[in-house]
Structure formats: structure tokens, C-alpha cells
């Protein structure tokens, strides 16, 4: 069962309450999104660790309900 952009954003926010989240629906099928997530929680973490934090937020949904998530992560400007 596909996931809505709202659900995706909500799940990310639950795990990363301070996050700035930008979701782009790539195909309108609830299966292909791009997400840009900025959070202070990423500070000092490698890209792989940052992306894993977002995948963990989706509680196993990544690869099942959600086929594709083009992900970009970052730390807030004032945290760098």
C-alpha cells in the first residue's frame, strides 16, 4: 500500500522533531518521492548514518510501501 507525502513527512518528524522536511512527489503514485531533510541530529554523522536515521524513521516502510525515496540530508547552517 503506497504512502502519502503527509504520512512520510509525519514519520520523519516523529523521529526527528526539529527537522526541516521538504517532500517532492516524483510520480504521484505514492511510491516515488524525493525528500530533503535538515536536522541538528545529523551533526557529526556520515551521510550513510544520516540516511539510515531517516530510513529507521520509516519503520521498515522503505523498500516495501515506499519503492523509491531520493534522499538528501544535511545539518542546519548554524550547526556547521
Amino acid at each position: 500500500m503506497p504512502m502519502s507525502a503527509g504520512q512520510l513527512e509525519q514519520m520523519i518528524r516523529q523521529a526527528l522533531p526539529d527537522a526541516q522536511v521538504e517532500i517532492t512527489d516524483l510520480r504521484g503514485d505514492g511510491d516515488h518521492y524525493a525528500a530533503h531533510v535538515v536536522s541538528a541530529a545529523f551533526a557529526g554523522k556520515s551521510r550513510v548514518e544520516q540516511h539510515k536515521m531517516v530510513y529507521d524513521a520509516l519503520k521498515g516502510g522503505m523498500g516495501d510501501e515506499l519503492h523509491a525515496l531520493a534522499l538528501q540530508t544535511g545539518v542546519p547552517e548554524n550547526n556547521q
Binding site: 551521510r47 550513510v48 540516511h51 539510515k52 522503505m62 523498500g63 523509491a68 531520493a70 534522499l71 538528501q72
Partner: protein
Amino acid sequence: MSDTDNQIKSEIDGADVVLFMKGTPVFPQCGFSGQVVQILSHIGVAFKGVNVLEDDGLRDGIKTYSNWPTIPQLYVKGEFVGGCDIIREMFEEGELRPYLAEKGISLLSDAE
């Protein structure tokens, strides 16, 4: 360690650069796998493609092994580097070549 884990480990240890992908380097069967193949070919790095579509056990096993939920997955000298997003970002930020050089991976373009 399960048979699948042993299989994965031997693939990862069997070559310097290993790409677990959908399809083959010549015929990628997924856009994301195809993008990584393009990047690796563009910078001229030799790599081994492992087609996870040929073995469902491998397709799921690699996600557990690396604790990464998607395919493709790139390994360099036994280390998980990332999936399509991370490899593309490393390439676009000019980090991929230095990373490979640091790991002692020669690029075909070096030989020119």
C-alpha cells in the same frame, strides 16, 4: 553466519569494488542501479556487478547484511559506501574520485 551471508561476504571480499544491483552493468534493470553504473563507468573504475534479481535470498539478505533497505549498494574494499543517492552526491560534490584514490583504487583515466 548464514549461507547467504557467506555468499555476500565472498562477493564483497572477491573484488575491490562491488555493486549489488538490479540487472547487470551492461543491462541495468532499475534506474537507480543504472545511475550508479553510469557514474562508475564515467570515472573509469573497474567494478563487479552482482545481480540480486537472480537470487531472492541475496536480494533480501544484502539489505539485512548492510542494514540498508534498498538496492543498489556499493562496497569498496569490503566497506559499504552507500546507495544511489550517496554515490551520486559524492560524485557531484567531487568526493568520489578522492575517496577511491584514498582506498588505493586506480581509475582507468589514471592510466592515460
